[in-house]
C-alpha cells in the first residue's frame, strides 16, 4: 500500500472526486530511464542509488509519478544472503570486540570467524547486510518493462485508495455470478441488491441475476482486521472483468478520517482489470472455502437424515439478494430446509441487518455461523438463537441442536 502522503501527492481533487494521476504511454521514456538507472545500480548499496535518483533522470519525470515508481521498485523483494544471519554476526563480533579491547580489529574478526566456522570476509560482509542503507539493489525481474511498471503503479494507486475506503458500491451487469461467489469467498461484508425492474418481473428468483449492486463495507469502517480485509477487497477486482460492465465507487479519505472523496473505477481506466491481481497474493478466501467444505462433509456424516446443497440458489429478501453458503434439507421432509451462512469477516451490525432482512422476507429458517477470529469490531453480538459462533471450526452438532434434531 502506498503511504498516505504519497497517495495525496499522486491524486488530484475534482469536486468530491479523487482522481489518481495514472501513468500512461507518455511516461514510458522516463520509466525506461529509471529502469536503466536501477539496472546499472544492481548490486550497489541502495543508499547510493537513492542519492543518484535525487538528480534528474535523462528524461524529465513528474515528481509524484516518479516517487510512486521508485516506491514500487524499492518494494521489490530483496533477499539478504549472508553466511551468518546478520543479527548473530553482530551479536558475536561486537561483544567479542568489547571483551578484546586491546586486540586489533583483524584479530577480533578472525577469532569470531573461527568460532562460527565461516570465512572472515563473509563474517564482515554479514555485519550490516540487512540494514536498510547497506542493502543491495536487486536485479530487476526480466519481465519488468516501462509499460508493466506503469501498470503496477496504476494498480498500486487504485488499490491504495480502495484500502482507504469506508464504503464501496460496485454495480455489475452481464453475468455477475462469479463476482458474487468471489465476494462471499473473500468473506467481504456486503449486501447484494437486485435492480427493481428484474425484481418486479420476478423472473430471476433462484437464478443468477443479470445486474447487481454490491454495497461493500470498506476497511476504514472496521476497527479490527482492516488490513487483511483491505487486501481481500482489492482482490475482488480480479473478478469484475468477468462481467459485461461494471462501475466501482469507493468513499475514501486521503487524510486522517476526513473529508471523504469519491473514487471511481470504470472499465476504461488504465488498470487492465481483466488481469488484475492483488499486490500481495494472499488468499483469504481459502480458509473460508475449506471450512465450508469440511463442515458440509462433517454434517452429512453426523446427520444421515439430512442432505447438504453446496451451492444453493439465491433468494430475494426485500430487494436484497440473499446468497447462502449451504442449504440443509431433510431427506424425509423437503419442507424442512435451513439456509446456512458461514460468515467471513463480520460485524455485529451487519449480522443484525442480515437477520432483519431475512425476517422481512420470511426467510426465517436461516442460520448465521460466525468465525470469532474474523470479528471486525467490538459491538455486542445480537441475542438471536439463529446466530452460532465458532473459534476453530463450525460444529455440525451445534447446528443439529438448533434445527431441532
Amino acid at each position: 500500500m502506498l503511504p498516505r502522503a504519497l497517495l495525496r501527492l499522486s491524486s488530484r481533487l475534482e469536486g468530491d472526486r479523487v482522481v489518481p494521476r495514472y501513468l500512461g504511454e507518455r511516461d514510458h521514456p522516463w520509466l525506461c530511464a529509471l529502469l536503466d538507472e536501477y539496472a546499472r545500480a544492481e548490486g550497489e548499496k541502495r543508499s547510493d542509488l537513492a542519492a543518484r535518483l535525487r538528480e534528474p533522470l535523462t528524461s524529465p519525470a513528474p515528481r509524484s509519478k516518479l516517487r510512486v515508481a521508485i516506491h514500487l521498485l524499492e518494494s521489490l523483494e530483496t533477499r539478504v544472503t549472508s553466511a551468518v544471519p546478520p543479527a548473530d554476526a553482530r551479536w558475536h563480533v561486537f561483544r567479542a570486540a568489547a571483551s578484546m579491547t586491546s586486540a586489533p580489529r583483524t584479530d577480533v574478526l578472525a577469532h569470531v570467524a573461527s568460532e562460527l566456522d565461516v570465512p572472515v570476509v563473509a563474517l564482515e560482509a554479514a555485519l550490516v547486510a540487512d540494514l536498510g542503507s547497506e542493502r543491495r539493489v536487486p536485479s530487476l525481474p526480466a519481465t519488468l518493462s516501462p509499460a508493466s511498471l506503469a501498470l503496477a503503479a496504476n494498480r498500486a494507486l487504485a488499490s491504495s485508495l480502495l484500502r482507504r475506503s469506508a464504503s464501496v458500491r460496485l454495480t455489475a451487469s452481464g453475468d455477475p455470478r462469479r463476482l458474487l461467489v468471489q465476494a462471499r469467498r473473500l468473506g467481504l461484508i456486503c449486501a447484494v441488491e437486485q435492480p427493481a425492474l428484474r425484481r418486479a418481473s420476478g423472473d430471476d428468483r433462484g437464478n443468477a441475476p443479470s445486474r447487481v449492486a454490491l454495497d461493500i463495507t470498506g476497511p476504514l469502517a472496521l476497527t479490527r482486521h482492516a488490513d487483511a480485509y483491505g487486501k481481500a477487497l482489492v482482490s475482488l477486482l480480479a473478478c469484475v472483468a468477468t462481467c459485461d460492465g461494471f462501475e466501482l465507487t469507493a468513499w475514501c479519505t486521503l487524510t486522517r478520517g476526513r473529508p471523504w472523496f469519491r473514487f471511481v473505477i470504470r472499465p476504461g481506466d488504465p488498470l487492465a482489470v481483466d488481469e488484475f491481481r492483488a499486490p500481495l497474493p494472499s488468499e483469504p478466501a481459502d480458509p473460508l472455502a475449506r471450512a465450508k467444505h469440511r463442515f458440509a462433509a462433517d454434517f452429512e456424516t453426523a446427520a444421515s437424515n439430512w442432505t447438504v446443497i453446496r451451492e444453493p440458489s439465491a433468494a430475494d429478501a426485500v430487494g436484497v439478494l440473499e446468497l447462502s453458503d449451504l442449504e440443509l434439507v431433510h431427506r424425509g421432509d423437503a419442507t424442512r430446509r435451513w439456509r446456512l451462512d458461514l460468515c467471513g469477516f463480520w460485524t455485529a451490525e451487519h449480522v443484525a441487518q442480515e437477520l432483519a432482512r431475512r425476517d422481512a422476507a420470511n426467510l426465517r429458517h436461516s442460520i448465521v455461523y460466525l468465525d470469532d477470529r474474523r470479528r471486525c469490531n467490538d459491538a455486542p453480538v445480537p441475542d438471536d438463537p439463529r446466530i452460532l459462533r465458532y473459534k476453530s471450526k463450525p460444529d455440525p452438532v451445534a447446528v443439529l441442536a438448533l434445527i431441532g434434531e
Partner: protein
C-alpha cells in the same frame, strides 16, 4: 520548490552530497578511531548524521550500530548488553536521540548532527544524568572553515543564551 525543476533537483542533490561528505570526512573517521582507543574502558555513545556513517563506523571500528532497521528485539538485547557492560560502545544516527531508554554512558562522540539545538541537548542529556562521582565527556567533531563550524557556533550561542521563564 527547488525539486520542481531539473536545475533545482541538481542543486538539491549537490547540497545533500556536500552535507553527507561533511558529516563523515576522512579526518572524522580517524578521530573516531583515536577517541575509541583513548576511552577503551569507558561506555561510549557515538552519534552520526546518517545511517551510512553509523554503518561505516560499525564495520570499521567494530562498534554495535543501533539504527531504525535494527528490529526491536535485537535493540532491547543490545541495550541490555550495553547496560551490563558486555558491549562498550554504540553508534547511532537518530534512534538514540529520544524515545529509547538508553543506559548511562561516560563518553559521547558527536560525529555530526543533522538537527539543531534540541537534538544536541537530547544527545548530551543521554550522558549528563546526575550520578554520584560521575564525570562525562562529550566530543563534538567539527570540520573547520565549513558551514558545519558556523552551525555549531550558532548552536552553542543559542544554548548559552539566558532563557526567560514564562510569565
Amino acid at each position: 520548490m527547488a525539486s520542481r525543476s531539473s536545475e533545482g533537483r541538481l542543486a538539491l542533490a549537490a547540497f545533500h552530497r556536500s552535507r553527507k561528505m561533511l558529516g563523515f570526512t576522512r579526518a572524522k573517521r580517524d578521530a573516531v578511531g583515536a577517541l575509541l582507543a583513548r576511552h577503551r574502558d569507558a561506555r561510549i555513545l557515538v552519534f552520526t548524521a546518517d545511517n551510512d556513517a553509523a554503518c561505516a563506523i560499525a564495520v570499521e571500528r567494530l562498534v554495535m550500530p543501533i539504527t531504525c532497521d535494527i528490529p526491536r528485539a535485537e535493540r532491547d538485547r543490545v541495550l541490555d548488553a550495553f547496560r551490563r557492560g558486555e558491549l562498550r560502545a554504540l553508534v547511532s544516527s537518530r534512534v538514540l536521540n529520544e524515545g529509547i531508554d538508553v543506559p548511562d554512558a561516560d563518553v559521547a562522540i558527536i560525529v555530526a548532527g543533522a538537527g539543531g539545538a534540541r537534538e544536541h541537548v537530547q544527545r548530551i542529556g543521554r550522558l549528563l544524568r546526575p550520578a554520584p562521582g560521575k564525570h562525562a565527556v562529550v566530543y563534538e567533531l567539527v570540520t573547520a572553515s565549513t558551514t558545519e563550524a558556523r552551525r555549531t557556533s550558532q548552536k552553542r550561542r543559542s544554548l548559552a543564551a539566558p532563557r526567560t521563564a514564562p510569565a
